[in-house]
Every structure is written in C-alpha cells, then in structure tokens.
C-alpha cells in the first residue's frame, strides 16, 4: 500500500467490502436453503445430545466415561458433547437459525401486510387463466355481477369490483401466509419465553421430614438447586409444613400413589393453603410450584451422654447404589449420625429396615421382600470413634471411617435404646417418612404455553388452506349476459379444478338470481 492513491480510497473500499459482506450474509440467511440446512443441523446436534450422556441427566454415565475411556471423554468434553444444549456450537447454530428466521419473516410480514391491505388486482386476459369458463345468464351484466359478488362473498372470497360494475376480482386463502407468519413469529415468542423463564427462575429439591417445616430459601436446598442467570436471589420465603406423607402400593409392589399433605405459610407465617401434592398434581404458592418427586424414611434418633441429649431429631436415610433389576423397596436404607462435638469424635452408621420382616426374610431364607409399610422397624448400627474428617466435602449419609476405629455394633428396634459405652446411649424413638419435592419457579411458562398455542393456530391454516384467485367479467348478450370466469390456485392446483367447476355453477345460479 505504498501508493498514495490506494491510501486515499482504502477506507471506502473497506467500508464497501464490509457492506457487501454484510449484505451477502444477510441475503444468505434470508434464503430458504440456509434455513433448511440450519434446521437439519440443529436436528443433528440434538441427536448427538441424545446419544452422548448429558450433564444433569446422566452424570453417573459421564463419570463412567471419564473413568473407562479418559481420552474419549476428554475429546467429548472439549467438543461440548456432554453438554450439547449449552455448548457454544449448538448455541451458535440456533442463534444463526433465529437470525435467519427474523431475516425471513420481517420482509415476509411486510409483504403480507401490504398484500392484505391491497384489494385483489383486476386481470386483463381471463381466457389465459389456467381455469376458464363461460356461461350465459338471462339477466343484464350488472345484475349478473352483483349476484356473482354475493356468491363469492358467501364463499369467503375477498371481492373487489373495479370500474364499470361489469367485472370482479376476488381472492381467498390469505390465512395460509398469515398462519405461516403467525407460526414463525410464535417460535420467537416461545424461545423468548423459555429464555425469560429459565433466566429468572430456579429449580431445586427440598427434603422435608413429616412434621417439620421447610422454608423456601437458598440455604434450605443443601446445594440441590439451579438458579437462572438473572435470578437474583429472590426466593419466596414460603414455608412448607409437611403434615403427612403417604405412599400406597398395589399387591404387586407397583406404586399406586404418593401424597404429601402439607400446610403452606407465607414468609411472615400467615396461613396460605392446605395442599395435597401428588405426582402429576403440583401445588403452587406465590409463583413457586411444588412437585412430588420422591420419598424416604427418617428415623427419629436421640443420642445422650451422661443423660444429656447431644443429638435429637429425625435423620434422613437414603438408598444408594441400588443394583439394576432390584426393586428399591427390597433394599435397606442408610443414614449416619455424626457427633462432631465429642473428643474423640463419634460417628454412627445405621442400616434401616422399615419392615423388619424384610431383614428376617433375608436372614432366614436369603430371599428379599419388598418393604412397603413400616412394620416393627429395626436398625442395625455400627459406631466408630476417631476423626470424622468433616473438613472434607462428603455426603451426609456416608461415614468416612478411614481415620476411625469401630467401637461397637448391634440391632435396635423402634423404642429401644443401645449403650455404646463411654456413657453414650442411642435411642430409636420412632420412624417417620420424609418427602422430596421439586421446587421450581418459571415465570416464562405462561408465555411458552401461549406461544405454543399460537404456533398451532398458525400451523393449521398454513398447512391446510390454499391461495386462490378468481376473476369474473360480464358482457351483454342479447337480453342476458355472458359471464366469463377465470382463476387459478397457487397450491394444489388439481384439487382447485373441482372447486372451480362448482364455483362456476354457483356463480351462474347466483347471477341468474336462482337458488341461494
């Protein structure tokens, strides 16, 4: 670029080139072919997401991939394949599709509005139309035309009578393009609703023991929560008191129903509602919804030292690593009490059999049986002392015994007390259930539903109606008139043939003042 002349034109050359590139990209995005390719690519990306385990859906399988095929896992990870729907390339794809969508429907909408406002244009040569007919009617041209006009109106044509009252231009089927546009705009609305709802909402899980009250606040979720990017910590403070949880089963062990009966209070403790939360029947309070998700057992345990309670309350028991093909009902529940204030620290691991016949059956016959109700529940316990290593992040229901020494074990029925030595006793006071609720707020849901309904409303005429145009003119013929009818359909021309024939018959009768 040593040439001074080039120097002076460079900025404009550059600007023009950018302008041309932008125009090119815009034109490409507007093209139907680009839309088609992008649509298919989004489909392909979604397929990848269904074949590779996804974050949040199949975390265990992702961990297994990292363990068994570290190289493959790393490559997948780099490509975002474990989180397809949040990956940069999927985002890019659907963003391009959205831009393309806007680029398509803005000019289409403008053209549609122009078209809808304009009345049908008159035609010059009716005889050159794909469909054409002439009929003779025994009334003067003006009367024939006004009859034809009524007939076309009755058939929901838009009609325009240009000039001298001896011709008509009519069309029908604007709903096709209108519906199509409504459908495409509604896609945008739907995505806006999804983004708004997810961005400002949250979804988490609450574990609540019967008789206890849980407050809807960030800390109550024990980390089991996902909050949207624009959520801003606006939890409702709603309080949920679980009065009772009930799980009913059929004789076969197949679940029949799960019900959480709860009382809801607002953050100031005022009664809001009494609700029954069951699968498929969530409860709602202050925009937050509560869904039945799961349940479990929570024995109430009291630990005393020298007659003074150092732990007293329900303990949430869990089932982990239930083998494939085994009903969770047949598997005992595990929970842990950690006494971190003692020196040395003490931990007690429990295995709960809510129905003691399950344990008996296993011991006597080696057979497992489903434990559906609480029936003389028993717990086996193992106590350890040493260091709980509480500084490490660990699950509340597992005991890390690497730095501990076993000091005893035994069996404990409901209402019984066991002596651990060192002046410590542990009592199993009663057995309660806990419920697991999914708690979520999604303010975009109504918008999404509305958009989905609009999509459907648009889709029906877009796919079923056809655009048709018809012209009529009348010329005097003796005492009567010759009615000339021409027309065509932009879609499904072959079916229009029959409709056109019927229409001509109709027009003939209407023009002559006979019939409807």
């Amino acid at each position: 670029m040593a040439d001074a002349r080039t120097h002076t034109v460079t900025p404009r050359w550059w600007a023009a080139s950018v302008g041309r590139s932008v125009a090119f990209v815009w034109r490409s995005l507007r093209s139907m072919r680009t839309a088609l390719v992008l649509l298919l690519l989004v489909g392909l990306g979604a397929v990848a997401g269904s074949l590779v385990p996804q974050v949040g859906v199949a975390d265990a399988r992702i961990a297994a991939t990292f363990r068994d095929h570290p190289l493959r896992a790393r490559i997948f990870d780099q490509l975002g394949l474990f989180d397809v729907y949040g990956s940069w390339w999927f985002t890019l794809l659907y963003t391009l599709l959205l831009v393309s969508l806007v680029a398509c429907i803005v000019p289409r909408t403008r053209a549609f509005v122009r078209n809808a406002l304009a009345k049908p244009a008159p035609a010059r040569d009716l005889g050159a139309m794909r469909h054409y007919a002439e009929v003779v009617v025994p009334v003067p041209p003006e009367r024939a035309i006004s009859g034809a006009r009524r007939a076309l109106r009755r058939r929901l044509f838009r009609v325009r009578a240009p000039g001298d009252g001896r011709a008509l231009a009519a069309d029908k089927g604007l709903a096709r393009e209108g519906g199509s546009l409504l459908f495409h705009w509604a896609i945008l609305l739907l995505l806006a609703g999804v983004a708004w709802g997810k961005g400002t909402g949250f979804s988490g899980q609450a574990v609540i023991v019967e008789g206890e009250t849980w407050t809807e606040a960030h800390a109550s979720y024990d980390g089991q929560i996902r909050e949207g990017r624009y959520f801003g910590e606006h939890h409702s403070g709603v309080q949920v008191r679980v009065d009772d949880f009930e799980a009913s089963y059929r004789m076969t062990g197949q679940p029949r129903d799960f019900v959480t009966r709860a009382t809801l209070f607002d953050q100031d403790g005022r009664l809001l509602d009494r609700v029954e939360i069951r699968v498929n029947h969530p409860a709602e309070a202050e925009g937050v919804r509560f869904y039945q998700f799961g349940y479990g057992w929570a024995p109430v345990i009291r630990v005393e030292r020298e007659g003074e309670a150092i732990f007293d309350g329900p303990v949430v028991c869990e089932q982990r690593d239930v083998p494939d093909g085994v009903s969770p009902l047949q598997v005992p529940w595990r929970c842990v009490v950690k006494l971190a204030s003692l020196r040395p620290q003490v931990g007690i691991a429990f295995e709960l059999w809510p129905d003691s016949r399950g344990l008996l059956s296993l011991l006597e016959t080696g057979q497992v049986m489903p434990m559906i109700v609480a029936y003389a529940p028993v717990m086996t316990w193992e106590a350890y002392e040493g260091d709980l290593r509480a500084e490490l992040v660990q699950s509340a229901s597992t005991l890390d015994t690497t730095a501990m020494r076993r000091i005893g074990s035994g069996v404990l029925g409901a209402g019984e007390t066991a002596d651990l030595g060192r002046g410590i006793t542990v009592s199993f006071l009663e057995l309660r259930r806990y419920t697991v609720l999914t708690v979520a707020r999604d303010r975009g849901m109504r918008i999404v539903l509305l958009a989905a309904i609009l999509m459907l409303i648009g889709l029906l005429p877009a796919l079923s109606s056809t655009r048709r145009k018809v012209w009529v003119s009348a010329e005097p013929d003796g005492a009567g008139a010759v009615l000339k009818v021409g027309g065509f359909a932009l879609q499904r021309g072959s079916r229009f043939e029959e409709e056109f024939a019927r229409l001509v018959r109709d027009l003939e009768r209407a023009a002559a003042g006979v019939g409807p």
Partner: protein
C-alpha cells in the same frame, strides 16, 4: 366380563386380525401384478375385517387393564398399526382412489404387529402414578395418531422414490428416441428392439401409481400429521411439567420427538425451496421416517431416560 376373559379375547382377536392382514397382503400383491379387480376387492374386504378384529383386540385389552389401552409399547404398537390401516383405507383408498399401494402398507402393519407380539408383549396391568394423568392420555393419543400418519407418509415416500427412479430411467431411455418435451405419462412403455422402436405388445403403465401422485399423497399425509405431532409435543411438555416440574429437559424421548419434528419441518421447507422439492425433499422425509422409528422403538428400548419407565 372378567379381566382374564377380556385378555383372552384381545389375543384371539389379534390373531384373527393378523391372519386377515396376511391374506390381504397376498391379495393386494396379486392385484398389483395381475390387475384383477376381484383380488383388490378381496384385499380391501380382508383389510376391513382385519381392522375390525384389530379394534376388538384394542378395546378388549383396555377392558382387561381397566384403563385406556395406551400404557406400554405393546399397546402403542397395537393402536399405531390400527391407525395406519384406517389412515390407509381412508386417505389412500377412499379419498385419493389410489389402489395399488395397499400391499406395502399392510406389510408394514404386519411387521409392526409381529414385533409387538414377539418382543413387546406384556400382560394388561394398571399404570404407575407418573403415567396416570389426563395430559398423558392426550399426549400419547396424539403422538400415536401422528406417528401412524407419518409412518404412512414414510411408506408412500419410499414408493415415490422407487417410482421416481423408475420414471427417470425410463425418461433417459426414451429421450434419444422421443426427444425432450414429451409428456411421458401419455407415452406407452416402449421397447428398443434391434435398433427399431416398437410398442411393447402389452402397454403397461407401470406397477405403481405415477410418482407425482405418490409425492402429492405423501406430502398431504405428512402435512396432516405435522400439526398433530406438534400438538403431541406440546401436551407432552405440559404433562412433563406436571409430573417432573419442568416442561422440557432434553430427556432422550423429548429430544428425539424434537428431532423428528425438526426433520419434518425441514421437509416442509424443502418442498418450498427451489431445487429441493421432489427427490431431495423425499429423502428428508425418509430421514424423518427413520427418526420416527428411532423415537418410537430405540429410545424406549435402549436409551434410558425418565420416559423409560413407560415401557
């Protein structure tokens, strides 16, 4: 009626329907090859009788289970194949008057029924709570109706592709002789015989209906199915919200129904895209058909997800 009796009636009616369809397929292909009207009449009569027995099987199954019989893969397959038969009779035979594709449609139905009986059969039983929802019935119902229509569209698309290839070959053969611009639909089948052109002794119009007819029929069927599929996805999302607290979670079943939806949306676009209508659009529809089968079978049977307890 006791549940046991109803269950037995259901399986017996299944057998009757299967045999009726089997003979109907033979009659339909006989008609295809030899164009005897009586063979066509027989195939239609047997198809109708089979559909009646099929319906009895579905209803009896519902009575045996004490609920709407749309609770597992076996029941889906039963309902789906019945709807394919009804859609074929209504749309293809009655409405469009196309008489020569019944054998292929019924072969697909037989295959579906055989897979259902051999691999998917389970006894009638009530549903687990998550499946026990009004929205679920609406969702499953619309998915089955639209799947049946899309499957029919898929079969017609395959036939279209076969026929279209045949017509293109024929055009290529005729072009040197007849020259371009000839409406091949009106030209009888010609044979090149030692360099001279002779009309074949029996002018045949080809076994299948003209490609254009098949194309139009496939498109109408798919365009009819698409909004119903859309409705099915929407109601599925509503049910998912009620049952799991989120309306969309990229669960494999959700993902694949979305993929199928996107592919058929691509098909509808392709038909309006210059240079893509016809064969290319049909290939997209075919991919959609495969995606439908994956959504229907593979996801339930092999890919795990929240929906998997629906099997």
């Amino acid at each position: 009626m006791s549940g046991g009796a109803a269950a037995r009636i259901s399986t017996d009616a299944f057998t009757v329907a299967f045999v009726a369809y089997l003979v109907a397929v033979l009659a339909a292909f006989h008609h295809l090859a030899f164009r005897r009207r009586s063979a066509w009449t027989l195939s239609i009569a047997l198809t109708g009788a089979g559909a009646l027995a099929h319906l009895v099987s579905v209803v009896a199954r519902g009575i045996a289970a004490g609920r709407i019989p749309l609770g597992n893969m076996y029941e889906y397959s039963l309902a789906l194949s019945l709807l394919v038969v009804l859609a074929y009779l209504g749309l293809v035979e009655w409405r469009a008057g196309v008489r020569t594709v019944g054998g292929f449609v019924l072969a697909f139905v037989l295959l579906t029924l055989a897979v259902a009986a051999l691999f998917l059969h389970v006894g009638p039983a009530p549903l687990v709570p998550a499946l026990n929802s009004y929205w679920r019935q609406v969702h499953v119902g619309s998915m089955i109706v639209s799947s049946a229509l899309l499957a029919l569209g898929g079969i017609l698309t395959i036939l279209y592709l076969v026929k279209e290839a045949g017509e293109r070959r024929r055009a290529a053969r005729l072009r040197p002789i007849a020259g371009a611009g000839v409406d091949l639909g009106t030209v009888p089948e010609l044979q090149l015989d030692g360099g001279t052109v002779t009309e074949a002794s029996v002018p045949r119009r080809g076994i299948l209906p003209p490609a254009e007819v098949l194309d139009r029929l496939a498109h109408r069927t798919i365009a009819f199915a698409f909004p119903i599929w859309t409705f099915g996805i929407i109601t599925g999302a509503i049910w998912a919200e009620r049952a799991w607290g989120r309306y969309w979670g990229w669960d494999p079943k959700e993902t694949w129904s979305f993929v199928t939806w996107v592919i058929f949306a691509g098909y509808l676009h392709a038909r309006a895209t210059a240079g893509w209508s016809g064969r290319r659009a049909a290939v997209i529809a075919l991919v959609g058909f495969v995606s439908l089968l994956v959504t229907y079978y593979a996801v339930n049977l092999w890919i795990v997800g929240l929906h998997s307890y629906a099997t």
